[in-house]
Structure formats: structure tokens, C-alpha cells
């Protein structure tokens, strides 16, 4: 598939109706090669993979198993350790509830982090309602977890810990090896949400001390509606099924498999495995270019550690500018303020708050996420757009005026309404 086709399909012109897409962490476009591979499976090779009695079913089953191998290869797992799901949300629910329920006789305490995705936090909250206890650790201001604090949170009855590999909002990479080793030493089952990690960081589950790991297709140029859960075989981790029925996926997850979507995930993960090293060099260069361009603006703050971070992400707060009006101002680019999943509400990003950012800075944050189809021209356009719009909004901002007048905003008594 030539690059020119990709560009034709995906290129935004930067005007308000065709913005430049810089929201790859919310969802990625389906790679044209992935779409091409999927389409035959919804037209010619349709069939229920569980129908063992006719070739329609066999073809589907073979395709599903090939895809399982591709997913396993990207993350250094055995294909038998991969369970298909409808997406990372289901993987997270299945891993956390499944392991907590299965091992509840061992203990009822769970550890997780306040910057996890809602699919982890809300699942742990649900388990709290069912009688489990949970510790939610705050990360350091860098977004990274302090290993000593993690160690200290472990109790004799701690049964499960869930820590994400790469944060969706700020892109920081947790030290999964170190956290996993602590879990191993203490007999704690370790789940990792890797939805934002595949194709961005190397994952080798043969070496990583991780028991359960969640994956998503649509964050790695695959289709929406499919994901996977890694369930370690050696030592064997057991989970209680959360969805019951025909006993698909060795009883761990029932429901007819969407063959074309699984095929799409397999192809997306194959491409990620083969191209990620080269791609990430290119993306890092673009991200750094964007960062240098935006750092010319006064009063900007990068959220999250810049070193231990995927190259795809740049999360910046523009002080004295309100987030939603900022989003309105930058309609020429498609970006996100806070995570996509929370942007329906007016709450400032809980992730940035967990880093200790003030509400104002949290409100004025923008997540730029760069991906496979981002170009130099996109980045140049973004820098010039941001500079112009930030100037305009600050002209409107009473807070900027006060800041420029030397007023200490933290000492002002606000008439909160």
C-alpha cells in the first residue's frame, strides 16, 4: 500500500471542517492495509468461527488463529495466552473482576493508581461495592509511580495490582518490570492496561513479570470493537469468566467472535511489530519539533515526565487560557483536552489533578497525540495556529492581564459561584 493512498484518505487540510488529526490517543484511523485485510472476512469468508461443521466456519477459525499469533508475537506471548474481547474496556473489566473474584479467598485488597483509565478505576470501584478494599495511589508530579510507595501499599491480603503501561493523557511509561517484580515478591497478581502501549513501546511478556495485560486494536491502527486480554500460562493465572454462554475462548469469554475485526487487529499488530522502530523515530522527531515550537510561547507547562514517555504524546497546559475555549479556537486541529472519555463533562482532567496540577492548568491543557499519518506540515501548521490563538485568548483573559500586572492569582479571593 503506497503512502500516497494513505495521505489521500487521511489528510486534513487544516480548515475548520477538515481539521488536522492530532488525537491518535483517542483513536487511530484504520490503516488502509488493515481495512483491506478485513473486508474479505465480512464479504466472502463470513462464517461463525465456532461452527465446526462447515468450511465457512473453518476459514473464519483459521483467520482468527492467525490473528491470535500476530497479537501474541507483538507482545512476546504464546497465542494460547491471548483471549479476544470487545475492547480494552472489556479486557480491563475481565482481568480485574475475573482475577479478584477467582482469588478472593486469598485476600480482598486491590492496589491501583489514580491516573488509570476509567475502565480500571470504575471496575475497582465496582469491586469495592462488592466488598473488596482498594488503595488508589497518587503518582509523583511526573506522572510516574514511586516504587517505595507502591511497596508500602502492599498488605498481606493484597490480591491484585493494576498499573497501566502508558498513560492515555500524558503518555508517561511506568516501570512495569520493577512494579511487576515487587508484585512477584509479594505474591500479588499484576494486571497491566497496555491499550496505549502497543506499537509504541516494546513489550516482551516472556520477560515481563506481568500476569494479565489488556490490549486494544483501535489505538494501534486496527478497528474499534475488538481487543484482547493476555492471561499468563506459566505460572498459570486463573480468571473467573464475566460473560457466560457458548464457552468460547476456553470458557474465559463467551460470545460470537467478530472475525473481520479480529483479523484487523492481527494485521494491525503485525504492522506495528514490523514498523514500530522506524515509525517511532519519525514520530519522536515530529513531537520534538512540536514541543520546541510551542515552548516559544510564554507560560506553557508540559504535563508528565518528558523522558519516560512515548514519543507520540505531548500534553501541554497553556496558563491563563480556558480549555474549552481553547479547543474552540483550535478547530483547525483535532485534539483533546483531557481524555476523550471524560471530555463530555466539564470536569478538569483527573489525571492532571492527580499530578498536582492546579485546576486552572488542568483546564487549559491540550493533548496533542501524533501518529502514523502526521506530517511535518501538520506540525508546522499546528505551531503557528497555537501561537496565534493563544495570543488572542490571552488578550481576552482577565487572568492573563492580572498576571502581567504582577497580581498573585493564588492570593485572590474568588467569588466562586
Amino acid at each position: 500500500m503506497s503512502a500516497s493512498i494513505e495521505m489521500q484518505v487521511l489528510k486534513g487540510s487544516g480548515d475548520d471542517l477538515h481539521p488536522i488529526y492530532l488525537d491518535y490517543s483517542a483513536t487511530t484511523p484504520v490503516d488502509p492495509r488493515v481495512a483491506a485485510k478485513m473486508i474479505p472476512y465480512i464479504t466472502e469468508h463470513f462464517g461463525n468461527p465456532a461452527s465446526r461443521s462447515h468450511p465457512y466456519g473453518w476459514t473464519a477459525e483459521k483467520a482468527v488463529e492467525n490473528a491470535r499469533e500476530e497479537v501474541a508475537k507483538l507482545v512476546g506471548a504464546d497465542p494460547r495466552e491471548i483471549v479476544w474481547t470487545s475492547g480494552a474496556t472489556e479486557s480491563n473489566n475481565l482481568a480485574i473482576k475475573g482475577a479478584a473474584n477467582f482469588y478472593s479467598a486469598k485476600g480482598k485488597h486491590i492496589i491501583t493508581v489514580t491516573t488509570e483509565h476509567k475502565a480500571v478505576i470504575d471496575t475497582v470501584r465496582e469491586l469495592e461495592r462488592q466488598g473488596f478494599e482498594a488503595t488508589y495511589l497518587d503518582p509523583e508530579p511526573s506522572g510516574l509511580l514511586d516504587l517505595e510507595k507502591f511497596k508500602a501499599a502492599i498488605r498481606p491480603d493484597t490480591v491484585l495490582a493494576s498499573v497501566m503501561f502508558v498513560n492515555n493523557e500524558i503518555g508517561v511509561i511506568q516501570d512495569i518490570t520493577a512494579i511487576g517484580n515487587i508484585c512477584r515478591e509479594n505474591g500479588v497478581i499484576f494486571h497491566v492496561d497496555a491499550a496505549q502501549a502497543t506499537g509504541k513501546v516494546h513489550i516482551d511478556l516472556e520477560k515481563l513479570p506481568v500476569d494479565l495485560m489488556s490490549f486494544s486494536a483501535h489505538k494501534t491502527y486496527g478497528p474499534k470493537g475488538v481487543g484482547a486480554l493476555y492471561v499468563r500460562r506459566k505460572p498459570r493465572i486463573r480468571i473467573e469468566a464475566q460473560m457466560h454462554g457458548g464457552g468460547h475462548e476456553r470458557g474465559m469469554r463467551s460470545g460470537t467472535l467478530a472475525t473481520h475485526q479480529i483479523v484487523g487487529m492481527g494485521e494491525a499488530f503485525r504492522i506495528a511489530r514490523e514498523e514500530m522502530d522506524e515509525e517511532n523515530v519519525r514520530i519522536r522527531r515530529l513531537r520534538d519539533k512540536l514541543l520546541h515550537g510551542l515552548q516559544d510561547i510564554e507560560e506553557v507547562y508540559v504535563n508528565g515526565d518528558l523522558e519516560q514517555r512515548v514519543p507520540h504524546n505531548l500534553n501541554i497546559s497553556f496558563n491563563y487560557v480556558e480549555g474549552e475555549s481553547l479547543i474552540m479556537a483550535v478547530k483547525g486541529i483535532a485534539v483533546s483536552s483531557g481524555s476523550a472519555c471524560t471530555s463530555a463533562s466539564l470536569e478538569p482532567s483527573y489525571v492532571l489533578r492527580a499530578l498536582g496540577r492546579s485546576d486552572e492548568l488542568a483546564h487549559s491543557s491540550i493533548r496533542f497525540s501524533i501518529g502514523r499519518f502526521t506530517t511535518d506540515a501538520d506540525v508546522d501548521y499546528t505551531i503557528s495556529l497555537m501561537k496565534g490563538k493563544i495570543d488572542k485568548l490571552r488578550e481576552l483573559s482577565p487572568l492573563w492581564e492580572m498576571f502581567k500586572d504582577g497580581v498573585d492569582l493564588s492570593k485572590v479571593e474568588w467569588a466562586a459561584h
Partner: protein
């Protein structure tokens, strides 16, 4: 979020952006909201001796609806008496801009800003008379 054309117009071309001299005895300032809540509105009105608002300026830190609400009221205020200004209701602002329910608070904030600015000018006048 689907904004009305009027909101977009005020947002794209805000009217009367800026500040007046806050030490001018004829200028009343209303600052409402809080950065933590995501919106701060500063409204300044200049009132002549007959109690008529001659000029109005605003600066707003907030969403598009907040900017539009404050821009709109600066247009409305000019030429009105401070009593008339005081009587402006948030519902009129919300209706004029066709604000969606989740954005009604922006019109409330604008009404509060007017009331705060009027209160400020009245306090200044009272202080002047007392002096």
C-alpha cells in the same frame, strides 16, 4: 458541543474587549467566577452623571458561551441606566444566545458580573457622597 451561530459570532468577533481605568470614580468593576471553576468574568462599566452607562468592556476566561455571554452584555449595557442594567436577567442572555442547558451557568455568571459592576459603582458613588 453544538453552539448557536450567535455564540460563534461573539466568540469569533468579541465586542468591547478590554479594560477601563479601574481607579476612575465613574468606572464600576465586576469580577465574578473563579479559575478553579473554569470561568472568570471581568466586566467594567463607565457611568456618567445621569446614571447612564457610556461604555462597557470585558475580559473573560472561560468557554465560548462565557465569552459570548459577556460580549453580548457589553453591547446591551451601553446606553442603559444602571437600574436597567441591574434588571437584566440571565434568561434573556441565554435566550438571545440559544445556550444549551449545560451552558446556562455562563448566562448566570454574566448577570452576576453586571450586578457586581453596578454594586461597585454604587459603592464608589456612596463613598464619594459620604466624603
Amino acid at each position: 458541543m453544538a453552539y448557536s451561530d450567535k455564540v460563534l459570532d461573539h466568540y469569533e468577533n468579541p465586542r468591547n474587549v478590554g479594560s477601563l481605568d479601574k481607579n476612575d470614580p465613574q468606572v464600576g468593576t465586576g469580577m465574578v467566577g473563579a479559575p478553579a471553576c473554569g470561568d472568570v468574568m471581568k466586566l467594567m462599566i463607565k457611568v456618567n452623571d445621569s446614571g447612564i452607562i457610556e461604555d462597557a468592556k470585558f475580559k473573560t476566561y472561560g468557554c465560548g458561551s462565557a465569552i459570548a455571554s459577556s460580549s453580548l452584555v457589553t453591547e446591551w449595557l451601553k446606553g442603559r441606566t444602571i437600574e436597567e442594567a441591574y434588571a437584566i436577567k440571565n434568561s434573556e442572555i441565554a435566550e438571545e444566545l440559544a445556550l444549551p442547558p449545560v451552558k446556562i451557568h455562563c448566562s448566570v455568571l454574566a448577570e452576576d458580573a453586571i450586578k457586581a459592576a453596578v454594586a461597585d459603582i454604587k459603592a464608589k458613588q456612596a463613598a464619594k457622597e459620604a466624603a
